[in-house]
């Protein structure tokens, strides 16, 4: 089948490459594509069609049509006509039952006609409704493309690269190359992308050539994503030159999908690039010189060409291709004696590939004279050169045939001329609706081959002008793209504290906490860690807390306006608990505010709220303009919470003068600067976990040093889980867990916090309103009557109806009960009220409580 060596062939006959094709061993040459090698080895059927399972062979041979979609090494839907040959590749058929040559599903082609018209499953399979799942399974099995290998894993790695270009030229044909060279004379920054692998070695002075690489679309701001296999280039171009050329269109005649019917460009590729004789007897049909010239090429290669039909001269009234076993055998032209042939080269003309221009905002107009859609009114910064402008393009449409033989408009979706006529008959009178109903242009080629014929047929049948019909919307991606490329590499940013590796060394179970990795517990028994804090001494890494410095002569005014709390009366060295509310009065975040000096405040936020709170502070200060600076020091400082009855004694041994941390010198809610184990530390005496405790904030680089010193003093590391138990015993709320975006300070039991007599603060007006109204539900504590643990999120049930939800629940050794927090209807919020909570499908009793479950007077943390 190979011709003698030719000057322009792209194969290297000295190097042979073997692979398996649908179970057969095939040998080709280096430079072949998988399809050209298989074709040269005599393979003609490459796939079965979408709906009728008709045999399909090479058609466009340029990576557009669906006819050569196959599964290569487990990757489905690979166009083997452009996929380079590689040793040992496994090429398999998809969407067939049995084999390519004998597909049992092809019965749909034989009997299907009357039973499977367009939209048949919308109508046929809707009754009885309950059987739809069954129908769906069958339909999905019968139609469709390749199957994804669920166990494929991450076989390829994809990356995204952000690039800039002064001029980005899309398409490396004659016009594209000329445009790129012209742009290069004006300066650097010219990039040319072309989807054709044959342009890999293209060299242009001053131009960066990327091939094979496909521009997937044109977005606003000159953004052009380019698919280069395993790299997605996100180009930002100052100027975009589209030189995407034109695409050959399907010629509509019965039998136009038979194996052996090909587009002229496909034939030319087989002849020139791969030196393959595409058939023995060929008929050439075309409406432009470019198509008809293929006859000369074929004759030179020794193919008999008994007939060339120039469709411009006379449009045949009858044109039917007849086949046997799905392969073309004969062509009937206007009642002449049928022409025996095994190759029909047919083109309906060439349509400018204007999609990228339309995406960029160009208008598309029908050119009556040439019969093609051309782009007009190009937006600023976008140019078009070459055939994409309509240069040298024309098309032809033949009258829709009568008779039984199928005439395909869209080979991807198996849509025939009859289907389009039927859709028109059923009243789908807009091209956009007809498209959705028939799915014409919606297959793998995305309308590249059938866009124009479908609209022209529609116009002809409806006796309308193409211009009045218009075109369907061109949407990205312009060419199929692997999902992996769009997803990119799996990158998840992780934040670790400066003490993180000490936790790992200590055998902690690490878990995600927002963007952070934090220890859940250091062993299998979080209760032991809880006990250590209650009875002796524990230490937890709280470096994840958001930490802000607010400094300036008006820092206090800024904070007074940001928080419902009052800070003006606060003395330096004191701490207050603060809750941020929105102007809608909803709780946003909480933390502590320590006044370090007249003009300096140290603010902590929740672990996940640091960035949002910083932005929130900065935004309000952009509105108000107080003289205060806001600095986020979250990453700069490590923080640990040393807690337990022995905390003072242990801290005393690490500071220069133990008297500095005596009960009198360092009171509850005091902030103090100390040297702890030689590290300059800001110590905050607060009690999130309910025991005597010190939160130590110090420079991150000393993270492990101070941690080690505390552990050496006998502090037992405890993780998030023990901390959750400890704080729950105190009834301390976690914003975001116990509260949500609807919670306010009154319903959450913090009515003592807002100071409504302040002149203004964010949320004041809403809180004034809340203060006057009755809340519908309230956040309360509860103690379970039995030893059962409700899930977080469990229902609170009142008289058999869900009326609230559990937000936190833990078994507390110190309390001796299962305790928790829950939202309950306001009329059930009285302490002592019995509520029911759904646990494992049973309603279990619980009593409402207020305040802390353990050490209600707070003597331990104040001691």
């Amino acid at each position: 089948m190979r011709l003698d060596p030719q000057p322009y062939e792209r194969i290297d006959r000295s190097r042979s490459v073997s692979f398996t094709f649908a179970g057969w061993k095939v040998t080709g040459f280096e430079g072949d594509t998988l399809a050209s090698a298989a074709f040269a080895a005599g393979k003609r059927v490459f796939s079965r069609s979408f709906k009728y399972h008709r045999p399909r062979g090479l058609y466009c041979c340029s990576g557009h049509c669906p006819n050569c979609l196959m599964t290569v090494d487990g990757v489905p839907n690979v166009r083997v006509c452009t996929e380079p040959i590689r040793e040992g590749a496994r090429v398999e058929a998809q969407n067939v039952r049995w084999s390519l040559d004998l597909d049992l599903m092809s019965v749909t082609d034989k009997i299907g006609g009357p039973f499977t018209p367009v939209g048949f499953y919308y109508r046929t399979f809707i009754r009885p409704r309950r059987l739809w799942p069954l129908y769906e399974r069958f339909l999905r099995g019968a139609a469709g493309l390749g199957k994804l290998d669920e166990h494929a894993g991450h076989s390829r790695r994809y990356d995204t690269e952000h690039r800039r270009a002064r001029v980005l030229v899309i398409g490396g044909g004659q016009s594209g190359r000329a445009a790129a060279l012209a742009a290069a004379t004006l300066g650097p920054g010219v990039v040319l992308v072309d989807e054709d692998a044959r342009r890999r070695d293209l060299r242009l002075e001053g131009v960066e050539v990327l091939a094979p690489a496909r521009a997937l679309g044109v977005w606003e701001g000159g953004l052009v994503p380019v698919d280069a296999g395993t790299v997605l280039y996100r180009f930002r171009a100052e100027r975009i030159v589209v030189a995407a050329g034109a695409t050959e269109q399907t010629l509509l005649f019965p039998g136009n999908d038979l194996v052996g019917v090909m587009l002229p460009d496909g034939v030319r590729r087989l002849l020139r690039d791969f030196s393959i004789k595409p058939g023995t007897r060929a008929v050439v049909l075309g409406a432009d010189d470019e198509s008809l010239e293929v006859a000369t090429d074929l004759r030179e290669a020794g193919v008999a060409v008994p007939r060339v039909v120039d469709l411009r001269e006379a449009r045949p009234r009858e044109l039917v291709a007849e086949g046997k076993k799905g392969r073309v055998r004969r062509l009937h032209v206007d009642g002449e004696h049928p022409i025996d042939c095994d190759l029909v080269v047919a083109s309906g003309g060439r349509q400018p590939a204007y999609s990228l221009l339309a995406q960029a905002g160009a208008r598309v107009e029908f050119d009556e004279r040439r019969g093609v859609f051309v782009p007009t009114e190009l937006p600023d910064g976008v140019d078009a050169v070459g055939s994409v402008t309509g240069e040298g393009c024309s098309s032809i449409v033949l009258p829709a045939p009568a008779g039984k033989a199928k005439c395909f408009v869209c080979v991807c979706e198996d849509v025939t001329t009859k289907d389009v006529k039927r859709a028109i008959g059923e009243g789908f009178d807009s091209i956009e609706l007809a498209k959705r109903y028939t799915t014409v242009t919606m297959g793998p080629c995305q309308g590249k081959l059938c866009h124009l014929p479908s609209i022209r047929l529609y116009a002809q049948e409806n006796r309308m002008y193409e211009q009045a019909i218009g075109t369907t919307t061109a949407r990205p991606p312009w060419a199929p793209v692997e999902l992996g490329l769009l997803a990119g590499r799996e990158l998840t940013p992780v934040r670790r504290t400066s003490i993180h590796f000490r936790h790992e060394e200590a055998g902690a179970t690490i878990q995600w906490a927002g963007p952070w990795k934090r220890p859940y517990a250091y062993g299998d028994e979080p209760e032991d860690e809880v006990r250590a804090v209650h009875e002796s001494l524990g230490v937890i890494d709280v470096s994840t807390l958001g930490k802000l410095l607010v400094e300036g002569p008006e820092a206090v005014e800024l904070l007074e306006r940001l928080y419902p709390n009052r800070f003006g009366d606060m003395k330096a060295g004191r701490i207050r608990y603060g809750v941020l509310t929105s102007d809608g009065g909803r709780i946003m975040d909480d933390g502590t505010i320590a006044r370090l000096g007249e003009d300096l405040f140290y603010v902590t936020t929740t672990s996940t709220g640091a960035d949002a709170v910083t932005a929130w502070f900065e935004w309000w200060n952009a509105v108000w303009g107080f003289e205060a600076e806001i600095v986020n020091v979250t990453g700069a400082l490590a923080a640990v919470n040393l807690a337990g009855p022995r905390a003072r004694e242990a801290l005393g041994r690490l500071v220069e003068d133990p008297d500095d941390v005596s009960a009198e010198a360092f009171r509850y809610l005091d902030a103090k600067e100390l040297q702890v184990a030689g590290v300059p530390t800001l110590a905050l005496r607060i009690g999130f976990v309910g025991e005597l405790g010190y939160e130590l904030h110090y420079p991150s680089p000393a993270g492990e040093h101070l941690w080690d010193a505390l552990v050496a003093e006998g502090a037992r590391p405890f993780g998030l889980e023990p901390q959750r138990v400890l704080r729950l015993e105190k009834g301390h709320v976690i914003v975001g867990q116990d509260t949500d975006s609807e919670s306010n300070l009154y319903s959450s039991g913090m009515s003592w916090l807002p100071k409504l007599d302040k002149e203004d603060f964010v949320g004041k007006f809403a809180l004034e309103h809340f203060a006057r109204r009755e809340e519908k539900e309230r956040l309360v504590g509860f103690v379970m009557e039995d030893d059962v643990l409700p899930a977080e999120g469990a229902q609170v049930v009142v008289e058999g109806y869900p009326a609230g939800r559990v937000t936190s629940a833990r078994r507390s050794e110190a309390v001796g009960r299962v305790i928790g927090l829950a939202w309950v209807p306001a009329d059930r919020a009285q302490a002592g009220t019995r509520i029911e909570i759904r646990v494992d499908r049973l309603y279990r009793g619980a009593r409402v409580t207020h305040g802390a479950f353990f050490d209600a007077a707070g003597e331990r943390m104040r001691s």
């Binding site: 606003e220 509105v623 108000w624």
Partner: protein, 89 residues
């Protein structure tokens, strides 16, 4: 959304570097009625046309600024730094 937004400090940058805080609203002063408060907290004009918006160059310099943007075309007509005012207007 892939347009370029000119940061007052950094110049034109891809919009994904910024956080949009929505259209500029007027915070009611004095003691607003419930209706005024609700309007301010929950309602937006959502114009199809030129709108003044708050933006922050979040993964850039961090600056908050105001931009006039045409919501139909994403054309940014101009950006400016806010002129702070403390009294509720």
């Amino acid at each position: 959304m892939s347009f370029l937004l000119p940061c007052p400090f950094c110049g034109p940058r891809p919009v994904d570097e910024f956080a949009c805080f929505g259209e500029v609203t007027t915070r009611p002063g004095g003691s607003p009625s419930l209706r005024e408060l609700t309007d301010y907290v929950y309602f937006r004009d959502n114009v199809a046309g030129v709108q003044r918006e708050w933006w922050q160059h979040r993964v850039g310099c961090g600056e908050w600024f105001l931009a006039e943007r045409d919501t139909r075309t994403n054309d940014v007509l101009g950006v400016e730094l806010p002129s702070p005012t403390r009294t509720p207007s």
